[in-house]
Symmetry: C2
DNA sequence: GAAGATATCGCAACTCCCTGCAATAGCGCC
DNA sequence: GGCGCTATTGCAGGGAGTTGCGATATCTTC
C-alpha cells in the first residue's frame, strides 16, 4: 500500500476512519463531495464525523492522493489524483459544466509564469461565465 | 441618483438599509466584505441584519453597481463596478495577492470563446498557485 | 506483549452565507 | 395626504466548512 507508507513516513497513522474514507474515494464518482463520502459510509453502517472527513481529505491532499476544485460558490469537489487533471467551465445562468483539457489553459499558465513568476493552478477554480445557449437566449 | 432610478424602474424600492449599504460601499476600501460593511454601519450606530447585507449586495450586483470575487476559499470580496476590473493571483503558500490587468487574461478568454462558445469571466475567481518567492523556498 | 508518546477522533461551537416566513415600510395611485 | 399592493426586512434555522479540546487509538520502543 503506497499511501499507507507515505503516511507513516511522515509520522502519520492509518486509522479505521482513514481507511474507510480511502475506500469511499476509490468507489466514488468523478466529482465527489465530503457529504457524498459521509453518506456512502453511513449507508454501509459507519458513522464518521464530518470534521474527520474534512481533515482527512486535507491530509490526503497533502500526500498528493486527492485534489479539490470549486465548481460553484458552494460545495467543494474532490478528485483522486490518479484521474486526469482538467479545467472546468461553469455557466452562471444554467449551471452547465464543461470539462476542458489542461492544454487549453496552458498558454495562460505559461504567460503568468513568464510575466509574474507565478505557477498557476488553473484547475483549482472553475472558470465561470456564460455558455453559448444562454448567451443566445439573453441577446434575443 | 442613477442607481435609485435603475432600482425603481425594475419595481424596486429605496430603503434606509439599501441607502446605508450604498454609503458604506462608497467609503469602503478596494476589496470589501459583507462583514466589513456590517461593522462599518454598526460603528455608525446602525444595526443591519447580515441577511439584508447579502441580499442587497446581490441586488446591487444585478443592477451592475458592484461585482464580487473569490480570492480564497473563505470570504467573498465585493468591488464597486466603477473600479477598473482586474484579475487576481493568490499564492496558496503565503497568501500574497497580485492584481493582474484583464489584458493578461484576455487571450484565454478569446480562446474559450472560439473553442467552446463560452463567455468567460476570468475576474470572478482568483487564479491560485505558487508565487515566485515561495517556489524558490520550496525547491531549495 | 506492554507502556509511553502523540496523531487522530468526536463533539461542540463558530463563521460565512442562504432561505422561509411573518411583520413592516416604500411606492404608485387616487 | 391617505390606501393598498408588495418589495424588503429581521429573525430563526440550515448547510458547508473550520477549530479547540479532552478522550482515544495507533505506532514506536523496549
Ligand atoms: Mn461567486
Ligand atoms: Mn480551494
Ligand atoms: Zn448556460
Ligand atoms: Zn507565496
Amino acid at each position: 500500500m503506497k499511501i499507507e507508507d507515505a503516511l507513516r513516513q511522515r509520522g502519520g497513522r492509518m486509522t479505521m476512519q482513514r481507511r474507510l474514507i480511502l475506500d469511499a474515494l476509490a468507489r466514488a464518482r468523478h466529482h465527489t463531495t465530503a457529504d457524498d463520502i459521509q453518506r456512502q459510509l453511513r449507508a454501509k453502517g459507519f458513522e464518521i464525523d464530518a470534521s474527520t472527513i474534512y481533515r482527512n481529505l486535507e491530509v490526503l491532499e497533502g500526500l498528493g492522493h486527492v485534489t479539490h476544485t470549486h465548481l460553484d460558490d458552494r460545495v467543494t469537489r474532490w478528485h483522486r489524483a490518479d484521474e486526469e487533471r482538467h479545467g472546468h467551465l461553469v455557466c452562471t445562468v444554467c449551471g452547465a459544466e464543461t470539462e476542458v483539457p489542461m492544454a487549453a489553459l496552458r498558454p495562460l499558465a505559461r504567460r503568468l509564469m513568464e510575466r509574474y513568476g507565478f505557477a498557476a493552478d488553473l484547475a483549482h477554480a472553475a472558470v465561470s461565465g456564460i455558455c453559448e445557449q444562454c448567451r443566445v437566449v439573453q441577446s434575443s
